[in-house]
């Protein structure tokens, strides 16, 4: 088996006595979709924030591509190929769709202490941004103002901005949140294509999405990982049924 892209060991973080993450350990290998599920308040978004670097853990360690990144700031992790999407859409609303993606491309193209030449003349930047928009199916109106796009398009734009950084590992925080059935199908198709050349850590509430694409699932409850295994094993795990899936499985299966 591949050496893991991401290796999380005994990660803990609490907020005023409430453990949002407690002794969490998990791995993501290249080409794998590792889904994190769990009820609201289980600490899934906290985990994403810890991995992305917005939060520092109280203890434990994070290794990414063989390097310890536990204390590394957000931008340095992103530079090393760890990209994320946000649960609540986080874009540049005043910029065009292609401008949003170009920003992410620019972040990985040399330094930006370039003061004189207009960025609009940087055709390579725009070209690459258009390619990524194409990948997520937003290329038909690239110069539209991002603030005026629909929610579904915002979710895709989120994805495009993460992809534009050519990440080795994608942290996806509920990419399908608030999407309609057709949009969800489109999102699943995109995720399927992406998994081939990178690792994906997927936090998602929609069980259809999770069971459609996950290779491995970790179930979190109150900051703990109570089970990790294949989708089949998770479906059949008694602890999981008791703690969480009881209701969920009837709805989705």
């Amino acid at each position: 088996m591949n050496a893991p892209l991401l290796e999380v060991s005994a990660l803990s973080r609490s907020f005023g006595g409430i453990a949002a993450a407690s002794e969490l350990s998990l791995q993501v290998v290249h080409g794998e979709v590792h889904a994190i599920i769990g009820p609201n308040g289980a600490g899934k978004t906290t985990l994403v924030s810890l991995l992305a670097g917005e939060l520092r853990p109280d203890s434990g360690s994070i290794r990414f591509c063989g390097e310890t990144i536990t204390a590394m700031p957000v931008h340095a992790r992103a530079q090393r190929g760890l990209a994320r999407t946000f649960q609540i859409t986080s874009i540049f609303p005043e910029f065009s769709a292609v401008g949003n993606v170009a920003m992410a491309v620019q972040a990985h193209a040399n330094h930006s202490f370039r003061f004189w030449r207009p960025v609009a003349a940087d055709m390579a930047l725009r070209q690459r941004a258009l390619e990524v928009l194409q990948q997520v199916g937003l290329a038909d109106a690239p110069d539209r103002n991002a603030g005026e796009m629909s929610h579904g398009e915002h979710r895709l734009l989120e994805m495009a901005m993460a992809l534009a950084t050519r990440p080795a590992l994608l942290l996806l925080d509920e990419p399908a949140a608030g999407l309609g059935p057709e949009e969800t199908t489109a999102m699943v198709a995109i995720l399927r294509k992406l998994r081939q050349d990178k690792g994906i850590l997927l936090v998602e509430h929609d069980m259809d999405v999770v069971f459609a694409i996950a290779d491995r699932i970790t179930v979190m409850v109150s900051g703990r990982a109570i089970a990790t295994g294949s989708p089949q094993a998770i479906r059949e795990d008694d602890n999981v049924r008791k703690a969480y899936l009881g209701e969920g499985l009837h709805e989705s299966a």
Partner: protein, 319 residues
């Protein structure tokens, strides 16, 4: 992407007309012998440089500094203090102005830029007031009363600014240079990082930008440009005092930026023109002319997104 020259002229004619008026003004002023208006226009242009520099951080970068006039003071004292020791070298004074402003911006920026929102406003204000009271307490340089500068910067035989019309053209050249610089910066790769950080800084970091160092660089550039304005101001007024860096002066700069349109290239210049225009006309009538400025600001804040410059563009857009 690029438009032809006639189209460009048609779209931007007010700006070109403005440049022509500024360049031709001394001729008319000399012809009708109204030197007062030469001073009015010089002050207008110097404040336009200062407001444009503030606009770079405030309008494009979302860094609302309430201490920006401190750089006018630094630039002006860079003329006044050497002059006190009979040092009139223009190169020395200019280097002191730019260097002093740059270093002050770098040191304070390292601290200010770790804060956001109201804290940023307060800490920039605090640093500016520290400088204000420092200069108030230095008796040697006149303290509260300030210093009279008996001669302007000396560039040898190269360029003699003792002649006010030459100083006028130097100020005009500095304004045009500032506008060109701001225009290039905000549309460059660097400018995208600054504007992106204003729009959504967590997102900028998430895609991999170390935003702090870019914002700091922007803060320093802005401070140095305002230092240039201060250097011109010292030469222009021939008098410096701590009052130049009082926080109410910073407030006026903010008013100019908002009035003309923050985050637009020419907004601050338009704002400075309106400010000086009102001051010149209304101050004749009433000492309370700031009241009318305030009313205008309220109207712009309420109805005029993009300031007066934006209003003008909308009027032209409708036609």
């Amino acid at each position: 992407m690029s438009s032809s020259t006639p189209q460009y002229l048609a779209r931007h004619w007010p700006a070109f007309a403005g440049v022509l008026v500024l360049l031709a003004a001394p001729l008319a002023i000399t012809y009708w012998d109204q030197p007062f208006y030469l001073d009015v226009l010089m002050r207008l242009m110097i404040l336009a440089i200062a407001a444009s520099s503030l606009n770079l951080i405030l309008g494009y970068g979302g860094m609302i500094s309430l201490g920006h006039s401190v750089y006018i003071g630094i630039g002006a004292y860079a003329v006044g203090i050497p002059a006190y020791y009979d040092q009139y070298s223009g190169v020395l004074q200019l280097l002191l102005a730019l260097g002093g402003a740059g270093i002050f911006a770098l040191v304070t920026g390292l601290i200010c830029l770790r804060t956001r929102g109201a804290y940023f406003i307060m800490i920039t204000l605090a640093f500016a007031q520290m400088m204000y009271f420092t200069f108030v307490s230095i008796e040697e340089y006149g303290g509260d009363d300030g210093l009279v500068i008996y001669a302007r910067s000396d560039f040898g035989g190269l360029f003699d600014v003792e002649n006010s019309i030459r100083l006028y053209y130097l100020v005009a050249a500095c304004l045009l240079l500032t506008l060109l610089l701001v225009h290039r910066i905000v549309n460059s790769h660097f400018g995208m990082v600054i504007r992106g950080a204003k729009s959504n800084e967590p997102r900028m970091r998430a895609v991999g930008f170390p935003t702090f160092r870019y914002r700091l660089a922007c803060y320093v550039i802005s401070g140095m440009l305002c230092g240039l304005a201060g250097w011109l101001m010292g030469n222009f007024t021939g008098f410096i005092s701590p009052e130049m860096m009082d926080w109410t002066r910073s407030g006026e700069l903010i008013a100019m930026v908002i009035l003309g349109g923050s985050g637009t290239l020419l907004g601050p210049t338009i704002g400075a023109a309106v400010f000086i225009g009102m001051e010149t006309v209304l101050a004749e009538v009433t000492v309370y002319w700031h009241l009318y400025l305030g009313l205008l600001l309220i109207l712009v804040a309420k109805f005029g997104r993009g300031g007066l410059g934006g209003l003008w563009q909308r009027i032209r857009g409708v036609r």
